[in-house]
Symmetry: D2
């Protein structure tokens, strides 16, 4: 296994999170070859240089196109604002680079399809930053469902609620513009939840959506002048899964008090599951075949018996953090490249998720149920 | 204040709950005149006699019509299966009795309207058994919202999940029949949630519903032969309130693991509220104006500073139970009769709730949004 | 079974709680004969008359001695301040009345012994108001331990924390005086915890105690002058049980923020139990023989499969309250009288608990371990 | 600031945790110079070489003495079993190396004193691996207490419960031997709790301890023959702090069901604090000056406003994990070396903690209170 050389574009929230993960993944997972932090790219060259030094990159650049074509780069890692994903991913694919891109993959389903197909044509490995599903307890949840431990699932309720825009004075940003952020709460939060829903229960079949924008204007961060917000604060979705389960989703970027409120509850014929990302080291399970009078939700604390946990810590209940999920995500990509196998989540998943986002918007506009059971279903 | 004489019809779950409440309300609330448990009615005369003796009723009967016309009865208390409410309530109204009826008021909106208007015509006081909103902490929640303690509410998510029918072998009953139970999960559970939503946030404006019946047949309890279930196991609703808030509701009678999962979460511009009936002595509140770095959901434990709690116990955190809510409900009715003021929840609320249930069914059938902002809005 | 006539002395917190329970016990538990609320006694005759009317007593009095000797009284129910228990109980016993007395039984072990032995000599049934152990989930816990469901218990940690005196300006009362309240936090709270510990795990063998008085003076409620507090705010105890388990207890009446913080955690060789009175409808259980990777604390919600719960409500998870525990306690007493069997908790338990309180004080004074494994062990 | 070269001795649980932290600390905290993973040492040379390669060390060795004297090593990092700490630390100090040592510092107070004084004589910086107090929320807790946000603290209850030895068949190891592990639960768990107690509330003044060994023999991992366990499974401690607070500690390595049950509760005159390491991203705070009727424990979720959190993630509530605490610990050491300031926790703290462990054992042996308020108090 060779040590893959990463070119990371972007130095914001996700840029640093990727850097931390790239830095430690080799130590956490000794069975993979540690990646090389080859080059850090930012349009601000001084910032690129400074962060590259601080974060342990070998070099820095302000020329992302050059990095995409650089023979000393194996993986292009895209952590820029949403509207830049397409151009960068297409350039990387054209140059035959493996691509690691933050979510959402593209601004729309069509854009995501274009990106996905370019990567497939190029024959490169891809990954999208849907980190939450890398949680070992969610891998357990998925396996429990697949093995029938809660019987046949017949209801899903998923929420992703944060309050990062609940203050009406939170300034206008690219996230509020259609042509830069795409959708609103759906792009930032909903994509995670949609991907998680299908990760757990398989493809969504049809859906009905409703979008609400509570704060239709926000002040420009420089001038203070109010500008129009072009996308939704809240998305609410009814849906059914191809496997037969009913479901709802609620996505909210102004959910006052909620910080990382990514939650789900799944009811099946023999049991149920509850999860809350704010307590990401706990999975709650109810099983009907527990003895009468002794039934109840069991809180499973993550431990070394749960998949990747042991690589971080041999003792149970000591707790993983959000950055550890990113480490697992990077491991998945590196392993996928080494073994030539698909990564979960890859660009196909990213496209699929965006197809569903589009369908929610279409449903909202037309007040009708929309089928999403054709074409690019998750596998 | 005279001691009102109650004639209670029905000796099941709710019959006994009413009896316990009637028995203790005078001791808990010394400012009202204790009701007299005048007569207990059951179609099985021996059972009526036996339970009347056990529960402290003065006499018993198997003739509900007679009770409705009995001059020694002031209040007719209806705790029979849903399909009997209409006939009994109409008879009681015709005889000029005050009426206390378990939810749902009628099988349909039209039936509920007929009942409500008959009582209004008769000029009698009425109450419907939506006991959960009698919780002192929910009265606090309502007052907090009204006083702007969480700012303007802009999102509501309510659930009522139980698992009393999650076992496919749970036998067929009148609850599964349209002409006896009316709707399914909506009638048993949804009516509580709808009433609570409007209690907290005012009238719902429009809604979109989706109904699912997972178990379309259940075994007859006597013959074991499978019979067709005629109403829904799960109802999912998107909605908006007249006050501007978005909302969702999820109602589920097969939610494996949930025993009394009546929950809500409300987000406002300045804070939020979370409640779970399974922890009915706790109300969680988030307030944006707490100091930075010290914000978080606060768990308020019910105590004597919260309305009616002090009548049960002068010490905080000692805990009320479900039957205590029924005591408050009975107090509300007795006080309303004594003071000639409307009870919350009365037949108008019962009709209003049923209007919304009908709208959910209509929306589901026609796949369209339905307005519910006209006519009999809650006040 | 005859309807026992109760003479209740005291109209405070516990007086009303007893009245509510006496009023409803016959309805909740139809298999017992409902008690008769014969007479309510208070030294303030007007208050006695007023509350008797309000609470449903047949008559009232300001002469407790007369009530103790009244041939129309079967049970003397003592809800007065601690220092009055002895005189009243002795009078009731001398007159051959059954006795129901609030905790603590006496101010000291010696006083409690005198009371207990007088009742035994008189051959009357007795009960002490240790209501918390009447919780159906604690009866389940006791049975689980006895049946070995958590193996051999080897550690117990019990706390009873409230904050009713955490404000230094909370006024001086009889509770602060040795000759009126007896001990401090130990009398009010500790007696409950000690009784619960032995209810669950059998007799305590030896102990080491430490007492702390944080607020050594409090203002007189009338004059505002500071008066000396004569007993402890906090008691901390190390101990071992005769069955071999280690243990600790912490009792605190100034535990800022805690309202009814009666909690325990018990570890055994095969599992463990956790309980918190503030969530009295939940019992948490861990069992080692759950499958690997699926272990965790299970939260059992009280339901009809748990002993007396079904008498209050046939549906699980709907929740009991503190007053419901008192109803069960009264039922226990009435049943004990009817069947001629000992009540748990009776005066023997009350004496036993007081013996342990004395031992904690003695240990604190002498800085030494004290044996409590002789004489009046709980059975 | 120079890039310090670390020589890490030991490749077990803590060895890997240190390696992960050393690897990522420079990226997480760009304001410090990233350390160099110079050499990994294990008595098994092949393992040392293999892990060095996997974890990113430049070289490997089986000769810890050589590393202690190696001019290309700046910091000796000791992650070996307890009984090896002394010899290694003394060698490192003699060679003038900075020293990072896992807890417990020495097997006894005397040994810890010798180590501490050797380091002080050598004038080197030191750190002990009490990682839990590096949690940003605990730094907040400490500051809240110091600033009087909960008034004067008057009670502390701390527990550290795990169940890693609750299975009687868990094999005998060096941890069970006095001359290799030192004390039992106290060494593994209690040292963390003692350090945390003094970190929060200042020095302990006097204490009374009780030790229990439930499993006095365990099977040899090779032969299966039962061997004598020489130290305690459970330690229970009563204590007072020099600042006036009462306190208890309970430490248990056989607490069935508890995985990382490091908890505390502190009551003060104006509020209280509750923490549970199994939910390490939450701090619960009660404040008396919240408005009446709105008081309750507030759950603060860790976020960027809480000290070091922002270096890991700019978004609140996303969650840190146990390994992130180690990253902060390493940062503390590197910063202390760079700035020439003491690290918290350093060898002085390690010695202090061991003094208290010794006092608990002495108290248990002699059944008497032991003063710990002299000599090496924490600062």
């Amino acid at each position: 296994m060779t040590n893959l050389r990463f070119g990371l574009i972007g130095t914001g929230f996700m840029g640093k999170a990727h850097a931390i993960a790239l830095r430690s993944v080799g130590t956490v997972f000794p069975n993979i070859a540690a990646p090389i932090l080859e080059c850090l790219v930012d349009s601000d060259l001084a910032k690129a240089a400074n962060d590259a030094e601080a974060w342990g990159f070998q070099r820095s650049s302000d020329d992302w196109q050059a990095i995409c074509q650089d023979p000393d780069i194996d993986v292009v890692d895209i952590c820029t604002p949403n509207y830049l994903h397409r151009e960068m991913a297409l350039a990387a694919a054209a140059a035959g680079k493996h691509i690691y891109c933050e979510k959402p993959l593209g601004l729309t389903g069509a854009e995501s399809q274009e990106i996905c197909q370019a990567a497939e044509t190029a024959g490169v490995r891809t990954a999208v930053g849907f980190n939450y599903i890398c949680n070992p307890l969610l891998v357990v949840a998925r396996r429990m469902i697949a093995a029938g431990e809660i019987g046949d699932a017949y209801n899903f309720r998923g929420c992703y609620q944060e309050d990062y825009l609940s203050d009406p004075n939170s300034p206008f940003s690219w996230r509020c513009l259609r042509n830069q952020g795409g959708s609103g709460a759906l792009a930032d939060l909903g994509t995670h939840l949609i991907n998680m829903a299908e990760f757990l229960l398989g493809p969504i079949d049809r859906l009905f959506g409703n979008l609400t924008t509570v704060y239709s204007q926000r002040p420009d961060p420089v001038t203070g002048v109010l500008r129009d917000v072009e996308n939704e604060d809240i998305a609410q979705v009814l849906m059914t899964f191809s496997g037969g389960s009913a479901g709802t989703m609620e996505i909210n970027r102004i959910a006052t008090g909620r910080k990382c409120g990514l939650t789900f509850e799944i009811h099946g014929t023999k049991g149920s599951l509850i999860f809350d990302q704010e307590r990401m080291n706990e999975l709650r399970v109810y099983q009907c075949d527990d003895p009468e009078g002794r039934r109840g939700y069991r809180t499973i604390l993550g431990g070394p018996e749960h998949d990747d946990y042991a690589n971080f810590c041999p003792a149970p209940g000591h707790g993983l953090g959000i950055n550890d999920l990113k480490v697992i995500e990077v491991r998945n990509l590196i392993q996928g490249i080494a073994e030539g196998t698909p990564v979960f989540s890859d660009f196909h998943n990213g496209w699929r998720v965006q197809t569903i986002v589009d369908a929610i918007e279409q449903s909202h506009l037309n007040n009708e149920w929309v089928n999403v059971n054709e074409g690019n279903q998750a596998k």
